[in-house]
Symmetry: C2
Subunit: 201 residues, 2 copies
Amino acid sequence: MGASKKNPQSGNYLYNPALLQNLDWESVRGYLNPFITNENPGEPWLLVRPLQLEDYDKGLLQILSQLTTVGNIPRSAFERQFWEMMKAGGYYVTVIEDTRDRKIIGAATLITEYKFIHDCGLRGRLEDVVVNNTYRGKQLGKLIVLTVSLLAKKLGCYKMSLDCKDPLIPFYKGIGYKIEPGNSNSMIIRYETPTASGGPS
Amino acid sequence: MGASKKNPQSGNYLYNPALLQNLDWESVRGYLNPFITNENPGEPWLLVRPLQLEDYDKGLLQILSQLTTVGNIPRSAFERQFWEMMKAGGYYVTVIEDTRDRKIIGAATLITEYKFIHDCGLRGRLEDVVVNNTYRGKQLGKLIVLTVSLLAKKLGCYKMSLDCKDPLIPFYKGIGYKIEPGNSNSMIIRYETPTASGGPS
């Protein structure tokens, strides 16, 4: 990794693209109609893959800004964060690219977390899900979320979790996520930070 | 880190103990009566500090088993997970030790997560909070949670979050955590894993 870190080049992936092969799509077939997968996403020009360093130029930050405050992130800061994620490991930022115009049209992140509990288990979290408004109706939200959820399963996570707003509950229920009665509360504290631009996440 | 990794010895901390100095306790003074801090936890024999490799022998896993399924974790697996956490960074497992009998009596973990959103921000999560039943009534739950929450603030997190069961909502409200209306749902998928012993977390 040292070499690639010093010489970023075309094709730098945040994580090994081979991890996205042979996910257990059969286990979620019932959630999709028509049936699509990350390897057959429904249109020949759509590509589901790990984040690349080049995605700074393919609109990643613009699409994330449909989700929440992003701020004006210079290329150097983006690249620094990319390498920090790669160095730490456990960051599976995954995107959908429209290869016709080389634009990122969707993204979702799986974060894995080492635990001592559950036999030194691995927990997964779903973060920062977004699909370009103009591509709605193609099941791409389901596609990107199921891709990283099945990746969590493949990596051996005992649990995958997410936090969401009320209107999104039916969407996530529709692809297998559950609200556990009495155990489904998300609470937060927000801190003032020198760099944050404000706005919710 | 390479050297210490190869030669684990007494005093190995998961993270730098100096990070726990000078936390912003004034900002949370109103939540505590009497006022205690990680540096003055109310009893001279209590010590709040980062996890150490030696805590395998001080009952860390036993206390975590008050929280959820832990499993029979051999020392080698515990140590491997400890080093994986240290190598990855962002794992702030914090404990309370009763130095009279060298037992871990409380624990909480801050996990930090790199983001692209929020100006390449840092998000904090509270995980795996537990205090020994026999030490209730000494505000040690508040103490350990506030310690890692103030650490998140010190590290520059724009947000700290947690998931909890219904009966714990008042406790967390009492130390500054909020349920954001319409945006406080936690949803999950549980996966079968070869190693997991089952049971909820």
